[in-house]
Structures are given as structure tokens and as C-alpha cells.
Symmetry: C2
Subunit: 297 residues, 2 copies
């Protein structure tokens, strides 16, 4: 089984062409829905009583919600605005609401999960939570600038506690104080990460393991409307694919990265979560084939 | 035969760890030396009487210099400084000197060149020069911000006049006023370019032809000391490889891009031209093999 722990949010997303208000979002939502194309993930997350029924139905349809809590209060809300090029996002508002004093717990039914993805939560929560699982085979975490700036020692402890770190390039540089991404990865590996995946948005990603570097391009897209959730969907697809293969050797992990690129490419083609919902498995396989054809020489 | 037209310079390069003064440089120098691993290129360029003998010897050893002129006056000089991350270069000084009123001419012996590379020269000069060749099979040009800002209509004419444009990502955006690189390439193709190659530095490149997109990663390097000439070496290797294969079908062009990535990777490992000089063909082949192995999944 795969368990995903992280935020489920109501997002306001301001893009140059369209503004979405109060739509289903959050790192764990993107990651778990993306993973759901490979396995049925368990989700540990909390929302408030204001969480719309239609969004609950979407989660229920795709995920195992035995770890999902509805609490008195309001759902975590995020409001962000993209610049004209869609490459810079400015946070306008973050309202933690029920997330503020959430004490996550791994439900009995999830404890035997062999695959665990810890989204960009408080690193101390992530470290505490991973210990509640009994037989983890492969764990992966992400982190964001906020935690690097405010709890760097805890971020480093978290990196030590998991098998793989998935992190974007700017955050990897910030965390390690290195400019070169290979140096960034080596530093994270020296802190105890076995695998490091550095996400570079439209430029693809770099996977590091031991002295192996596996660079991969992004799936080339002409029409990108909303980058929200691309990185989370990348990570979700990666661990979902691994969980479905029940295998974590290097060549399976490389393939998982390709699925990460592909699921990330679906998300950005539509607004919010729309690009990720209701995909057919055949569409995903077709794009993986297109990807392989595209890079061949 | 391959002819390269462009600047030969004496560069001052200021990197965070080392400053080089008055070293051999210039777009055509990098491009032609890079191409010289595949064919013996003819070089159309001009230097002044101050051009050091040792640099002349380097060119003479690797290139056909029947199009190379030494004029009264001083050699073109460029002075630039990299930031700490080596990703931003600021131009401190440009002294055109003998380049200022240079009237390039294709020598009789070069007229039958089937392969022509026009470096980032005045686009009007490039357009005039390409007409002096009798039987061009494949021509390629680069351009830089200066010409885009000052002679954009001429840049567009130049793009129409050649088969392929090699251009870096920021300049492609500036020229086409598009944010998405596929849109950038499509616009350049609508202006008449058959092939477009967008260089993305450490993120590799994108080749466009018709409705084909071929993205390729850069060869991953941990220790980069001086990015000068990487793009020029990329282009030189590309056209040198094509000239050596006497073939310009798409799969040969894709392979040429890989050689571009590989030669570009050698340059940045050492200062100035040093990384590009005295390579063994076996080193290049070995790195191409490493490249193929690196990206395989």
C-alpha cells in the first residue's frame, strides 16, 4: 500500500488568463490523485466543515480516505498569483485554518504501507509520522522554501529519515547553499538521502543515486495554462508507479521519473486539478510512448 | 567543406575564481575549433597586428586560414564578468577595433563550401555573405541580444536566408516576444527557418523541425569553471558533425545536437578555449557513449 501525507486545500489560483477561486488543491491532493493511476493511495489529511461535497466525492472516488479527517473549522486556503510567463508565483495569502493545529496520526489500516510519500509538511511532523509505519520499503519527501528558511535542521533530519528527496532546483540550492545541482544532490546524499530528485519545471529533472546521474527532459508542451501542482503530481506518479511495481531498483526508479514527467505534463495543460482528473490509463501510456519517441536519436 | 564566419577576439574573462586577460576567444574561434574535430573548417575572420603569434599558431594548426585576415590595427576585444553562480555574464567593455569596418569576403577557395556557419555577426553581413557561396547544402546562424535590439528586421531576414537558427533561450524569447519555447521556435519557422535549435545552457537544448521536437539534456557536470564559448562550441560541433557526415537528414541532425552538447561540455570544464584544445577523438566518442548511457532508462 501507498500512503500520502500532506495538505488538502482550497486554492485561489490567479493566472494571466483565468482566476480560479476556492478550487480543490494542496500538495497531497495532487500527489495522491496522480498516484491513483497506479495504486489506490491512502490519504492522511484534514479539511474543515466548509470542504465542498463535490471535492470530497472526487477524493473518495480515487483514494482510500480512512486517514482523512473533517474537523470543525475552515479548510486550509492558499491564494497565489502567477506572472505573465507562468514561471513566478507570488503567494498572496495563506490561511492555515484546521491545518494549524492538526496532529496527524497514521491510522491502524495504513501502518503496513510499504510506500510513503510525505509532502511539503512541517519536517518535524514528517519525521514523527514516518516512525509510525511498521514496514516502509520506500519513503519519499518534498520540502519548500518556508521550512528551509524556518526549520533547516529539521529539514536535514527529515532527509536522513527517508529514502528519497524530491525537491525543486531553487529550493535545493537554498537548502544546500550550492549553485551546481550535482553539488546540491551530493550534499543531500551526504545528509543521508539515498536518492535525490531535483525538479527543474519545464527543464525536466535530475535523479541522483550513488554516483549515477539520470537527467530527463520534461515532456514538451506548447500550451501551458497553470503550473500548479506539477511538482506534486510528478512526485505522486513516481511513488505510485514504484508502489505498483513493488520494486525499487534503479531502472524502475528511472522509469518512475519518466511517469513523473508525464503526469506533471498533464496537470499543467488545464487549470487546477482538471488536467489530472479523469485521465485514461491509455492516455498516460500513449504519452509515455510519445516521450520515448521524442527523446530517441 | 565547412566555412565559419565570425569573430576572433582577445577576451578578458572574469570568473569568481580566476581572471583571464587577453586570451584567444570569439564566437568563430570556439565554433571553428569545435568543428575541427570533425572536418577542417575554413575561417573567415579578421584580427589586428597585435594578435599573438601563439594564438595564430593554434588557429593554423586546426583550421584552413585562407579566409583569415590580419589587418593594421588592434584585434577585437571583449571584457566580461560572470556572477558567483556563473549563470549571468555582464559585459564590461567591447572594443570592435579592426572588426569595426571589416568587409568580409568569401575567398574563391571557400565558395564551394556546402556547409556554412554564420556566427553572431551583423545580420546584414551574414545575409550578404551567404549569397557569395555557390552550393550551400546546409547553413546555420546564431544571433545575440545586441542585434535583436538594434536590427530585428535584419535578424528576421537572416533567419529566412539560412536553413537553421541556433539561438539561446533568452534571445529566442526576446526575438519572438513569446514565453513558451515551442511558440518561439514556431515563430522562427514561420519566418523561414527550417530547423531551430534553442540552447538552454545547463538544461540542454531543443531541436525543432516541422512538427518534430527533439529535447536533449546537457551532459551533467559538477565542476564548471567558465561557460564562455559553450554555445559557440555547441553550434560548431553540430555543423562540423553534419559536414563530416555529408548528410542532413533529421536523425543525423539529432546526433549532431548530441555532439553539440558533448563539445559544449568539454569547454566549460576549463578556462577559455583550454577545454576545447587538444581533445582526442576518443575522448569525444567516450563522452558521447557516456551521454547515451546516462539518459537511458
Amino acid at each position: 500500500m501507498l500512503t500520502v501525507f500532506g495538505s488538502t486545500a482550497l486554492d485561489t489560483i490567479r493566472t494571466p488568463n483565468k482566476v480560479l477561486k476556492g478550487v480543490l488543491g494542496g500538495a497531497a491532493t495532487y500527489a495522491s490523485i496522480s498516484a491513483s493511476y497506479f495504486v489506490k493511495p491512502g490519504l492522511i489529511a484534514v479539511v474543515g466543515k466548509d470542504f465542498p461535497k463535490k471535492y470530497h466525492s472526487i477524493l473518495l472516488k480515487n483514494l482510500d480516505l480512512r486517514g482523512f479527517t473533517v474537523k470543525d473549522g475552515k479548510t486550509f486556503r492558499y491564494d497565489g498569483k502567477y506572472d505573465e510567463t507562468l514561471s513566478i508565483r507570488t503567494t498572496l495569502k495563506t490561511e492555515l485554518n484546521v491545518l494549524g493545529n492538526f496532529k496527524p496520526k497514521v491510522p491502524e489500516e495504513y501502518r503496513k504501507s510499504e510506500y510513503v510519500y510525505l509532502a511539503n509538511n512541517d519536517p518535524e511532523q514528517n519525521v514523527a509520522l514516518i516512525k509510525e509505519f511498521d514496514k516502509v520499503k520506500f519513503s519519499m519527501c518534498d520540502t519548500i522554501e518556508f521550512w528551509i528558511a524556518n526549520k533547516k535542521p529539521s529539514v536535514i533530519k527529515m532527509i536522513k529519515a527517508v529514502d528519497a528527496v524530491v525537491i525543486n532546483d531553487e529550493e535545493a540550492k537554498l537548502l544546500t547553499k550550492e549553485h551546481n545541482l550535482i553539488k546540491c544532490a551530493k550534499k543531500m546524499m551526504s545528509w543521508g538521502a539515498k536518492y535525490v530528485v531535483i525538479k527543474k519545471g519545464e527543464h525536466g529533472s535530475l535523479l541522483f543515486y550513488d554516483d549515477v546521474i539520470f537527467p530527463s527532459v520534461a515532456f514538451s508542451l506548447e500550451d501551458i495554462v497553470d503550473p500548479t501542482g506539477a511538482g506534486d503530481s510528478f512526485a505522486g506518479a513516481m511513488i505510485g508507479y514504484l508502489a505498483s511495481k513493488k520494486n525499487v531498483n534503479l531502472s524502475t526508479i528511472k522509469k518512475a521519473v519518466i511517469y513523473g514527467n508525464v503526469l506533471g505534463s498533464f496537470v499543467v495543460e488545464k487549470y487546477g486539478l482538471d488536467g489530472l482528473l479523469n485521465l485514461k490509463k491509455s492516455q498516460i501510456l500513449e504519452r509515455v510512448n510519445q516521450y520515448e519517441k521524442m527523446i530517441r536519436f
